[in-house]
């Protein structure tokens, strides 16, 4: 079946370093991708999104890269801070699929001071 998965279940980085979280997807018809951050005891919080007609999008300290050829999505966090410690999920959806999101497995990011 269709799936979205992550390469690394956990990631530990030093404060100030850059973080890269990866995600693979299998539905070539997906056209919208989102990264979420989930802190303990909270619901997922939107970070950044990208549509399939783009291969890169930048936000504040975050960049999302989309490689449709290999069905790969990544989230780059610049100058990682302790407040970035959370679980990060990628999600995808396909136009016309009743707006349902397909979720990746999640990567736990730990930032060491």
């Amino acid at each position: 079946g269709e799936s979205v998965g992550l390469h690394l279940p956990t990631l530990s980085v030093q404060e100030g370093d850059n973080s890269i979280i990866n995600c693979a997807y299998s539905n070539s018809a997906s056209d919208y991708f989102i990264w979420y951050k989930q802190e303990s005891g909270k619901g997922p919080q939107f970070i950044i999104d990208i549509r399939s007609n783009m291969d890169k999008r930048q936000g504040q300290r975050v960049t999302v890269l989309l490689n449709k050829t290999v069905k790969h999505l990544s989230l780059q966090i610049a100058a990682t801070q302790p407040g970035d410690s959370a679980v990060y999920f990628c999600a995808e959806t396909e136009a016309g699929n009743n707006r349902k999101l397909i979720w990746g497995l999640g990567t736990s990011l730990a930032v060491n001071p």
Binding site: I34, G41, K42, G43, P44, Q45, F46, D49, F89, A91, N98, R99, K100, L101, W103, G104, L105, G106
Partner: protein, 112 residues
């Protein structure tokens, strides 16, 4: 983006009982989604709730176990019925508005 108020934030329930979770949105939205998130895992969609129609359930979820109400465009409830310890999880509601998805803070349910 929409603001969602979800209640209760947590509860501990006896097996065999039922719990109703409420989600109130600060604006009218067409589609609301209910998710389950088991400890240490990703989100699994339970059902999609549209106002004025029956909810659409995903594979593995049935209306008798997870009845949903959607009386208007700003409110929905999810009931977890006849609970067992396997229902211990975080339950989340979500809405999509203007192309963006917003989530409630979740209900952490423990069944004992």
């Amino acid at each position: 983006s929409a603001v969602i108020s979800q209640k209760p934030s947590r509860d501990i329930c006896q097996r065999g009982t039922s719990l109703t979770i409420q989600c109130q949105v600060d604006s009218q939205v067409t589609m609301m989604f209910w998710y389950r998130q088991q400890p240490g895992q990703s989100l699994t969609l339970i059902a999609t709730a549209n106002q004025g129609s029956e909810a659409t359930y995903e594979s593995g979820f049935v209306i008798d176990k997870f009845p949903i109400s959607r009386p208007n465009l700003t409110f929905s409830t999810l009931t977890v019925s006849n609970m067992s310890p396997e229902d211990s999880s975080i339950y989340l509601c979500s809405v999509v508005r203007g192309g963006g998805y917003t989530f409630g803070s979740g209900t952490r349910l423990t069944v004992v």
